[in-house]
Amino acid sequence: MTEGIDEAARPEVVAGTGSDLFSKFDPLIEQRRALLADGQEDPFSLVMERVLSPTRAVCNGRETILLGTYNYMGMTFDPDVIAAGKDALDRFGAGTTGSRVLNGTYRGHRDCEDALREFYAMDHAMVFSTGYQANLGIISTIAGKGDYIVLDIDSHASIWDGCKLGNAEVVPFRHNDVEAMEKRLKRIPEGAGKLVILEGVYSMLGDIAPLKEMVRVAKAAGAMVLVDEAHSMGFIGPNGRGVAEDQGCLDEVDFVIGTFSKSVGTVGGFCVSNHPKFEILRLVCRPYVFTASLPPSVVATAATSIRKLMHGGNKRAHLWENSRTLHAGLKARGFQLGTEEPQSAIIAVIMPDLERGAAMWGALLNEGLYVNLARPPATPANMTLLRCSLCAEHTAEQVETILGMFERAGKAVGII
């Protein structure tokens, strides 16, 4: 049923040419045409002409405050991180041109995995070329045909794709609903392999999961637990290890998935674990084996950044201040937000519909502010969201400036 409902109308047959495989995109093409017809700037093809800092860039020739980059800890321009990358580029070259299991593991890749093991205090770490591939690879390899995956309905696309690739039986439950999860776990046939997949922070609304309770229930049902901490690494938890650490249940989690493209400030993905047989995954995980490894400069920047994040206490405190100020300020100005209280560095502003969401996005860009426009099907309950992600490098003054921009744009578009 689920498949059928998402499926577009059958492609029309074009006379003499067979069916056009692109016909299925016609509704989306028409929606975009209508949206952009009255001069609205395309929210999905913005170009950053120059990037000045973690919080400022030049777009359309105008200096713009960045409030939608997931660059939570502002590590992209950290001098030590940049120096490490330049040095690796000079000494090891521009790329590895090879798989991690053949010629693509350099000293830097091992060092980056050592940095992750130190950061999480775990036995094993495996670095992938992207965060998407980390979920795709780990999930599809450990949960195969006949195994059961129980997961939150609001899971990231990379998690769903990992479930599909591995051909496991997939059982979703209502977002953050512990009871619904428990009921489904109990109905799984005896003896079947069980994997529960959760996220620390859900990136669309910026809300966190009740991991302590969910992990307890999952373990009691005999399931292994994988938690994606992409949006919490670096600033949630006493050591920045994420929501599971913050709630005191990290020891019960079998696999933590994370990314380098948020707090770490570059690109790449990883899995850390204490499972005694973890290392075998390097030989059987296809999205790890059949792709080129990260360039030496990228793993050098990642390792340097991860080690610096271990001592980022002051920056974390300032990031939380920014999150609280923006949340309270937007709420006071009458915007509808994704969460009652700030739970992470993501503040989602709920728009009445796609048209006014796109108009608001354009009005903010004219003010000199970039945020993410998120729309169905990526969003829960078909919402249109303006997603703001704060950075530890945003100054208190910048946050006040941002609130003024929201107020003017919101009034101009008629949302507040």
Partner: protein, 80 residues
């Protein structure tokens, strides 16, 4: 459990979800006739699962296109 009993219980559950008043014959399709969004599908499936104490995995859902196929699948899953 026999098919007629299953059909009656499913009919009671689907009523509040059938907001457009589609005639629910065995041939009615979820994609073409009911046109639910993915969240409605999940809520409806959860309601059926809880009523019959069964699991209908997404893999199984993909095979269920018509109302009649749903009744057959639930009869089979609840009977085993």
């Amino acid at each position: 459990m026999n098919r007629a009993d299953t059909a009656l219980r499913i009919a009671a559950i689907i009523a509040p979800f059938n907001t457009r008043g589609v005639a629910l014959t065995d041939a009615a399709t979820f994609a073409g006739d009911l046109e639910w969004d993915s969240l409605t599908v999940m809520d409806f499936v959860a309601a059926i699962e809880d009523e019959f104490d069964i699991l209908i995995t997404m893999n199984q859902q993909a095979e269920i296109e018509t109302y009649g196929q749903l009744i057959d699948a639930v009869t089979r899953l609840a009977g085993s």
